[in-house]
């Protein structure tokens, strides 16, 4: 994509985000849009890992849980500033990711996927069982509002702007990362690990960095979630089923397309909200739609659209040449 197009897309994204709350003008839907932004932040991080480093995490919701519960525990028990609590959350998630990543990422294959699955289950069980500390299944309540420069973000519109500013920041950070040295290393190891290693790419370390960054983004999302609903429990959106939903967001939006993750998060969350009206049919419909999208658009929504455009352009080019 040329730099000019990039600027145009960013401006369009900014204008859309700025205009959305007045257009929606409905507290419930703005709340949903906040949740889409939170899902998008976690999905962007997971897409860096899945789409660029070629590794899958099946326990990413656990890093969200670490984020959400660290914020919840520190702000309600110690009265520390929510921003400091959030920084601690990011550090803790990064530390856990490092511990899990070091032994598994030096191996070839999908060992990280299995290890993160285990970590995710263990985190859920600890959060459920250690009730003195975490509130058990009923969770923790009265998590305070975030405030910015002395202004409390005490309604959904203000919080919407904060969350979506952070979505933009995550997108910017990630797209810069994949165009940097680390990004080139990632693309190199994606096409051929041996060749990349021969060219001096430290494969294990590059993958580890991306995994830690993706865990930190998930923790940020979890912490934002805690300050959005002021309440956390070990399950929604912190357990295995949300880990799976995050993977679905990434694949549905399109692997290795960062805007795809935002589209994927919006699709999964809005679909979930819409399908709820179907009552007991919602689970079945979600599963069927997921399978159908992948059968017909294996590269995801944005990935599929991009390849359609490319095919059309190639066809147009061929027609002009003849």
């Amino acid at each position: 994509m040329s730099p000019r197009w990039r600027v145009v897309l960013w401006l369009a994204f900014g204008a859309l985000v700025a205009a959305l709350p007045p257009i929606i003008a409905n507290d419930y839907y703005i709340g949903v849009a906040v949740f889409v932004g939170i899902g998008a932040i976690a999905a962007i991080g997971l897409n860096l890992l899945m789409g660029y480093a070629g590794q899958v995490s099946l326990g990413h919701a656990a890093f969200m849980a670490i984020g959400g519960f660290t914020s919840a525990i520190l702000t309600t028990r110690t009265g520390v500033s929510p921003w400091i609590a959030m920084a601690c959350a990011l550090l803790l998630a990064s530390a856990v990711a490092t511990l899990v990543g070091i032994p598994t990422l030096k191996l070839r294959g999908h060992y990280l996927a299995m290890a993160t699955l285990g970590v995710g289950m263990i985190v859920t069980i600890i959060l459920t069982q250690w009730d003195d500390f975490t509130g058990g299944t009923s969770g923790l309540t009265d998590i305070p509002y975030l405030s910015l420069a002395g202004v409390p973000l005490d309604n959904d519109v203000k919080y919407f702007y904060l969350v979506w500013a952070l979505v933009a920041l995550a997108l910017l950070l990630s797209s810069n990362l994949i165009r940097s040295r680390v990004g080139r290393a990632l693309r190199a190891l994606h096409t051929g690990e041996v060749a990349a290693a021969t060219c001096g790419v430290d494969i294990a370390r590059t993958k580890l960095r991306v995994f830690v960054l993706s865990a930190a983004l998930a923790a940020l999302a979890g912490s934002l979630y805690a300050h959005h609903v002021h309440f956390v429990n070990p399950h929604n959106p912190f357990d295995f089923s949300f880990s799976i939903q995050l993977v679905v967001m990434v694949v549905l939006g399109g692997l290795a397309t960062l805007p795809g993750s935002v589209v994927g998060a919006a699709t999964v969350i809005l679909l979930g909200e819409y399908l709820r009206s179907l009552g007991d049919f919602d689970v079945l419909a979600f599963g069927v739609i997921l399978a159908l999208v992948l059968i017909f658009l294996p590269r995801g929504i944005v990935g599929g659209a991009a390849s359609l455009l490319q095919a059309r352009r190639a066809a147009g080019g061929a027609a002009q040449e003849s």
Partner: protein, 297 residues
């Protein structure tokens, strides 16, 4: 009760749950060998086997052996349909797409089960009218003995299938080298098809065996599937001996852990399988019987 008889009691309970994990792990391995994918719908095959048996036996009043047989056949058909309708269309798109499709399938099967059977937990009557027997001072569920016995029979049949039947030998060959097997005329497509049939059958047997011990319900497949997956990793995914040893070891460790855990820590029982999973991944990633699949960089 003495410590010895208590240990025996936990051991038998653990072996029976472990046998279930082993059957599920075998199902994961069969599909992994044919496709290199982890089938997230394996737990749902277990759930369907349990619920179908309950319906056929309790509502349709079929005799238990017939109900079990029909339930297994039913889930075999489900497995085959999953392969034809969902897996085959995305095979060109790669392993990750297929795995995500199995996630979609597992969610859809859970949804269908919820519509058919509702959200209640339904019990299956134990296979014997005598529910508990005394064995060396330990109180043992007769159902545990059924589970262990039938699992052993299934494993013997599976061994014969893999060592004698042409199809079984073909599936083993395709697991070792798909291209080589294709060269001698073993169709990769057929291998995948039969692996889903077999995985469906194994899952169904696990489900109908566990249904009298744990209740059957539309959501029972998730945790059982994940435990079976942990067992498969512990043994080394794709290895049949590994799946059996991994499943039994996991079941026994879990039962001993929960039985002898200090008061208050029993709630962490479900974490055992996953802690073991992590230890295996960190210390011996290829699993106990895995053949060098995990090369270090």
């Amino acid at each position: 009760m003495t410590l010895g008889s208590q240990t025996l009691q936990f051991l038998i309970a653990g072996l029976s749950v472990g046998a279930i994990y082993a059957l599920i792990a075998l199902g994961f391995g069969v599909i992994y060998n044919a496709t290199q994918i982890v089938n997230f719908a394996q737990g749902e095959f277990v759930m369907l086997g349990a619920l179908l048996t309950v319906t056929l036996h309790h509502s349709a009043h079929l005799p238990l052996p017939l109900a079990c047989l029909l339930a297994v056949l039913g889930v075999v058909v489900v497995g085959v349909l999953v392969e034809r309708l969902a897996i085959r269309p995305v095979r060109a798109a790669g392993v990750l797409a297929m795995i995500i499709v199995t996630i979609g399938v597992s969610i859809a099967l859970r949804g269908i089960a919820m519509l058919i059977w509702g959200k209640e937990h339904v019990p299956l009557r134990p296979f014997s009218s005598v529910e508990v027997v005394r064995l060396g001072g330990a109180a043992v569920l007769t159902q545990s003995l059924w589970v262990i016995g039938i699992t052993l029979a299934v494993m013997a049949a599976l061994h014969l299938f893999y060592s004698r039947a042409t199809l079984g030998k073909a599936m083993r060959a395709a697991a070792i080298t798909r291209e080589g097997a294709a060269l001698v005329g073993i169709s990769p497509g057929a291998t995948v098809f039969w692996s889903f049939a077999l995985a469906g059958g194994l899952g169904a047997v696990a489900g109908l065996l566990i249904a009298p011990i744990h209740m059957a319900a539309y959501g029972m497949g998730t945790m059982l599937g994940l435990k079976g997956f942990a067992a498969a990793i512990l043994g080394g995914i794709g290895s049949s001996v590994g799946a059996i040893v991994g499943g039994l070891a996991l079941g026994v460790l879990e039962a001993m852990g929960a039985g002898f855990a200090p008061a208050g820590l029993g709630g962490y029982k479900d974490a055992f399988a996953f802690i073991i999973l992590l230890i295996v991944l960190f210390a011996r990633p290829a699993g106990l019987f895995g053949g060098g699949g995990a090369g270090e960089e």
